[in-house]
Amino acid sequence: MTPSPGTPERPLRVAIIGAGPTGFYTADHLLRSAKVVEVDLFDRLPTPYGLVRLGVAPDHQKIKFVTNVFDKVAANPRFRFFGGVEFGKDLTLADLKACYHQVVYCTGAQTDRRMGIPGEDLSGSHPATEFVAWYNGHPDYRDCTFDLTQERVAVVGVGNVAVDVVRILCRTAEELATTDIADYALEALRQSRVKEVYLLGRRGPAQAAFTNPEVKELGELADADVTARADEVELDPLSRAAVERSQDRATQKKVEILKEYARRQPAGKSRRLTLRFMVSPVELIGDAAGSVTAIRLVRNELYATSTGALQPRATEHFENLPVGLVFRSVGYRGVPLPGVPFNESWGVILNDKGRVLDSDSKQPVVGEYAAGWIKRGPTGVIGTNKPDAAETVECMLEDLAAGAVLEPAHPQAAAAEALVRQRQPNFFSYADWQKLDAIETARGCAQNRPRVKFTRIEDMLAALGR
């Protein structure tokens, strides 16, 4: 019998799918374990960091500092990065099973939830994530177009994606010019005629997911006045009781900030941002050409469920809000991976603490794991994925100790690399990324920006002389 892997002679070989924060945290926990582990981190894009590069807003650079942590992980000699290699296309699960003892899926929540209302697919109605991916220079979204000649825009949802979108729409070109926003997006936003922006929340200010620093930032925009309706920021009796009961200072402060916005006199800035609460879209109304002209809203009231959670319920009061552009950000869900059991109810890989479960027997599938948003759903901040990844790695090490790992025919680092080279000769290594990173930062330095991003894969290859 061969000794179990995890020794210098026979390292435990792990493939991680998805190079976002969770992929790096998973690699970190594995590389710090007492076992000898070799990690190959795959991403379908050439660049690492996932949503830190392509989701976090360009005017929130500090949040991106977490890449320092990821670079330290990548410096470990037992870590390799294979960018531009897609699971299910360039490499199948069977391929990975031939080279690795364990596979971890960290593919995040790649699709947005639909509002499920008539008119949702009219021209001018978009998922907020498409806009986010576009302004952040995601190669798959760089050629999207958004009609920024429209003066009135509604953003549905009050999570951080929705808040990012309204902020970017309200920023001046000068404010954006010092960020790492994609060049084409900066140009398009410079020409923007957007004047009125609405952020629409279905519940009240006390239930809004945005944080206090985020909401404060909206009050400090250079050329956009922020406002709210006094009747909507006033807490309903249920919310007031809940806030008092929990002594939640942060929520109390949030409500105070919003009340101050409701009292503010407009300072005559070029744009106006209105924060709306207790309204749900029921229909997008279009013109003969099939373009959005208005969003029909219903006023909600809150009721307490048996656990005391406050949920919205529609009333009989409707209003039409004229808008020419709508971005929806009402939730996210994972995308099933080829051959990997999926839990449709929660939009995640079917798992128990990170162990992938068989769809029928509900028993663990040997050698397959999940971590991050594809495991628990899209919630928490970047750092929340660290304890989440730790839980998955704990299961992986337990299973290793119990001998429940895959038995790959070619458990050598060289064999895995040879396979990648054969399937995707144009893959990007971490050294490649570091060269691109240096070019991006140098270009940025010249313009007093953190970086000027590559947004086309061909440009990245050309910059590497390929």
Binding site: T307, A309, Q311, D352, K353, K362, V381, T384
Partner: protein
């Protein structure tokens, strides 16, 4: 965060028992799954909850309780949660009302169970994550390079 995020990483639906099953059978289930409570169901519909507490209480009074049925011992007045209930409200209600297990129901159908341990773990991970994120930002210099 809401309870759906806790259920998402718990794999299986809650362990259930029928009201007409015996306490002996219920104990075997608690032991086999290493859990503290069973949900009594009729079809997909939860009708009660049988916890360690219910069993201990009965054991102290009646040595022949093994052969009694779940329906006699279970708590019928069960507080249930919904997948979209937020963690803070649920934590508050479970703490205040001394509930250790919360069946989760979606459109009348049982979809899972969260324990107070699940809630504590989710809250701990949430705060740990926030602290970690803030530390990472604080520990970088103005240009974003690690200090």
């Amino acid at each position: 965060m809401n309870i759906a995020n806790i259920l998402a990483r718990k794999g299986s639906v809650a362990v259930t028992v029928r009201p007409e099953q015996t306490i002996r059978e219920a104990l075997a289930l608690l032991d086999r799954h290493n859990i503290g409570a069973l949900i009594a169901v009729e079809g997909d519909h939860p009708v009660g909850i049988l916890s360690e507490r219910d069993i201990v209480r009965q054991a102290a009074r009646d040595e022949k309780f093994f052969v009694r049925v779940v329906g006699e011992l279970m708590t019928r007045d069960v507080i249930t949660g919904q997948p979209h209930d937020d963690l803070l409200s649920v934590a508050h209600t479970m703490t205040e009302r001394r509930i250790r297990h919360l069946p989760v129901v979606d459109k009348g159908r049982l979809v899972g169970m969260v324990s107070i341990g699940d809630i504590v773990k989710a809250q701990r991970d949430h705060y740990q994550g926030e602290v970690d994120t803030l530390q990472t930002q604080l520990l970088a210099d103005d240009r974003g390079r690690a200090r």
